[in-house]
């Protein structure tokens, strides 16, 4: 197990470097000049611009910039925002907890609702219940999250007045509920469908038949034998979804005006704040890589047949 973890971590290094390099070069190719953008309509003093660029290391060749960035990253230095002169690390530290809270809230909702619905459908494959649930899930997947967001806002905030249209206080879970559900909707549908498929497939498995032949009560056949085995693929999916939820917050946070990573990265993109964008995307890549490692290890716990060498 220890060796496996070590090997996986080693494999992650090139992926991590590759991904950050990719995102860094995508940012570097940006034609907009962030320093010029700083001056806006004012007269630009080329000497001053060159000075600022030199201070920020923007006059260096691309590879040198990337190397500086990467080495800085390992020392916890994400760079500095050009307009505000704030360290990017501070900006991220402000926004990250908000998105983490939103994503985790969403995740809890996903697990608490998606899995039971999937089990309910999977236990009765091809019945009206199953087909209805599958169709609703399909419907939910089809609606882009910005559409769902505005729809939810219109109905629950404007028409029914149950909640605020915008999130003012990101620590208030009542206000976060609506964005969390909207954020979860897409993944929820996938989790439901995946659980349903897995349960329906395992329902025919020989060991389930054995469990019934042993005279176990229905709740035990389902709870101990069927659902536990069916959860293995679902757990894999859920792990990867944590990253997806955080990245998906770009849209949801925009709709509900949540001051999280999504809004921050969006504003940074518009203002051409390269280091902020790269910093946030890098963190999201890290979250994704960590989650996929955890999922792999969890896999071994859930399925004893898997042995890591």
């Amino acid at each position: 197990m220890g060796r496996y973890v070590a090997r996986r971590l080693l494999q992650m290094i090139p992926v991590f470097i590759g991904s950050t390099f990719l995102i860094f070069s995508m940012m570097f190719a940006l034609p907009g000049d962030p320093v010029k953008a700083l001056f806006g309509e004012q007269h630009i003093d080329p000497v001053q611009v060159a000075q600022i660029k030199q201070n920020l290391g923007l006059d260096q060749p691309f590879m040198v910039q990337y190397w500086d960035y990467l080495t800085g990253l390992f020392q916890g230095d994400f760079g500095t925002q050009i307009a505000s002169q704030r360290p990017v690390a501070d900006v991220i530290a402000d926004a990250f907890p908000v998105t983490v809270r939103l994503a985790l809230f969403s995740f809890v909702f996903l697990v608490a609702v998606g899995i039971p619905l999937g089990v309910i459908a999977g236990l009765r494959p091809n019945t009206v219940t199953d087909r209805t649930l599958l169709f609703v899930a399909l419907l939910l997947v089809s609606v882009p999250s910005f559409v769902l967001g505005y729809f939810a806002q219109y109905v629950f905030a404007f028409q029914l007045g149950w909640t605020e249209p915008n999130v003012q206080d990101s620590t208030n879970y009542g206000q976060l509920l609506l964005p969390a559900i909207v954020l979860a909707a897409l993944s929820l549908a996938y989790v439901t469908r995946l659980t349903r498929t897995s349960v329906a497939e395992n329902l025919r498995a020989d060991y389930v038949r054995t469990a019934i032949a042993k005279g176990l009560p229905r709740h035990r056949v389902i709870g101990v034998h069927l659902v536990r085995n069916s959860m293995i693929p679902v757990v894999t999916f859920l792990g990867v979804e944590i990253g997806t939820l955080m990245a998906g917050a770009v849209v949801t946070e925009g709709v509900f005006n949540v001051q999280g990573v999504g809004r921050t990265v969006f504003q940074a993109l518009i203002r051409r704040e390269g280091s902020t964008v790269v910093g946030i995307v890098t963190l999201l890549v890290l979250v994704y890589l960590a989650a996929s490692l955890i999922v792999d290890l969890l896999y071994a716990v859930l399925d004893p047949r898997i042995r890591y060498a």
Binding site: D206, Y207, G215, R228
Partner: protein, 352 residues
């Protein structure tokens, strides 16, 4: 010509301990599956009975209904698509088909247990064998986890799994095929049931291991005086352990006989074909006999005798009239106990 009474051994008002009372009696059992290609009639009027300590072998090809009828006895057929439109399954005189699901559940595992063919897929891959064995005691007898584990080790010892104590927490995939099948047997034996149904218990095993497992099963059966229904397609397995045999074809019993009678003098062309297709040392070098054709599609079973398209003796009557299970007699007319043949030409087959 007498027709064998389908309820030859009527359950009397005796207790279950009486050796002559059938433990299990299946009467006119029908099972069908409703599929999108039509209704597959898997079992079409099967009768058989098992007494305590007795071994009944049910012989047949895939799709002959041998496994389905056993699953109907266990009550583990998926309904739908399965359906039991007709029949009775009497366990100690009580029709299980009329029982509540809860009553049936209490019988399953505790009174009637089943051994499945492929232990690797029949055991839950993600739970330890100790847990799966212990579950029997915990559910049916309400034992604690710890007590159940001790019992599991005892059971594993009983089926002669070496180092049971160390292996109780291992998972099914960590055992060899033979050991896994022993675990299946242990699970079936756990609560000392009255009847065990073994569905091709040795098919998935190596030949050398087959004999060991079969011997173990026979030994334990004698020890506990259990009834055993052995479902198989292997005539070799049957000869050593069975008391009587029922040969099934297309959902019907086509021949019943005490085991040695059947080998010596088959009374149905299908049984004869099966016996002739066994390779024999004294016929080395000759072409091996094979029954021509394939078993019928269960959604379209041929009219008359289902075997007629493949039967060397088939005549016009075989294509129109369904043969009943005739009582087989000696040439002189003397009844042979327990023998029946569902063939219009049984006399020619056995005596000809």
């Amino acid at each position: 010509m007498t027709i064998l009474d389908k309820t030859a051994d009527v359950p009397g008002p005796h207790g279950p301990g009486d050796a002559n009372t059938p433990l299990l009696e299946v009467r006119d059992l029908h099972v069908e599956f409703h599929t999108r290609d039509g209704v597959a009639k898997a079992v079409n009027g099967v009768n058989y009975s098992v007494k305590p300590g007795e071994t009944l072998a049910v012989l047949g090809e895939s799709g002959s209904g041998k496994s389905v009828s056993a699953q109907a006895v266990m009550g583990i057929i998926d309904m739908p698509p399965g359906k039991i439109p007709k029949g009775e399954i009497l366990f100690k005189g009580q029709d299980m088909l009329k029982m509540s699901p809860e009553e049936r559940r209490r019988i399953r595992g505790a009174k009637i247990a089943m051994i499945f063919q492929d232990a690797l897929s029949a055991l839950n891959p993600v739970l330890s064998v100790g847990y799966q064995l212990g579950e029997m005691f915990r559910v049916h007898q309400g034992l604690s986890r710890k007590e159940a584990k001790a019992k599991s080790i005892e059971l594993m010892d009983r089926v002669r799994i070496p180092a049971a104590k160390q292996r109780v927490n291992d998972y099914p995939h960590q055992f060899s095929g033979g050991m896994r099948q022993r675990i299946m047997i242990a699970m079936a034996l756990a609560l000392e049931p009255d009847l065990i149904i073994a569905d091709e218990p040795t098919t998935a095993l190596d030949v050398t291991v087959q004999a060991q497992v079969m011997d173990l099963l026979a030994e334990l059966q004698r020890e506990y005086n259990m009834g055993l229904i052995l479902i198989t397609h292997d005539l070799g397995v049957v000869a050593d352990v069975a008391d009587k045999i029922a040969v099934m074809y297309a959902g019907r019993i086509v021949e019943t006989a005490p085991v040695h009678e059947l080998y010596a003098r088959p009374a149905h062309p299908y049984t004869r074909g099966l016996l002739d297709s066994i390779p024999r040392l004294d016929q080395k070098g000759q072409e091996l006999y094979a029954i021509k054709g394939l078993p019928p599609n269960l959604t379209r079973i041929p009219s008359g005798c289902a075997f007629n398209p493949r039967c060397p003796k088939a005549d016009d009557i075989c294509r129109t009239d369904l043969p009943v299970l005739h009582q087989v007699t000696e040439q002189g007319g003397g009844e042979i106990a327990g023998r029946g043949s569902a063939c219009h030409f049984w006399k020619e087959t056995i005596h000809g």
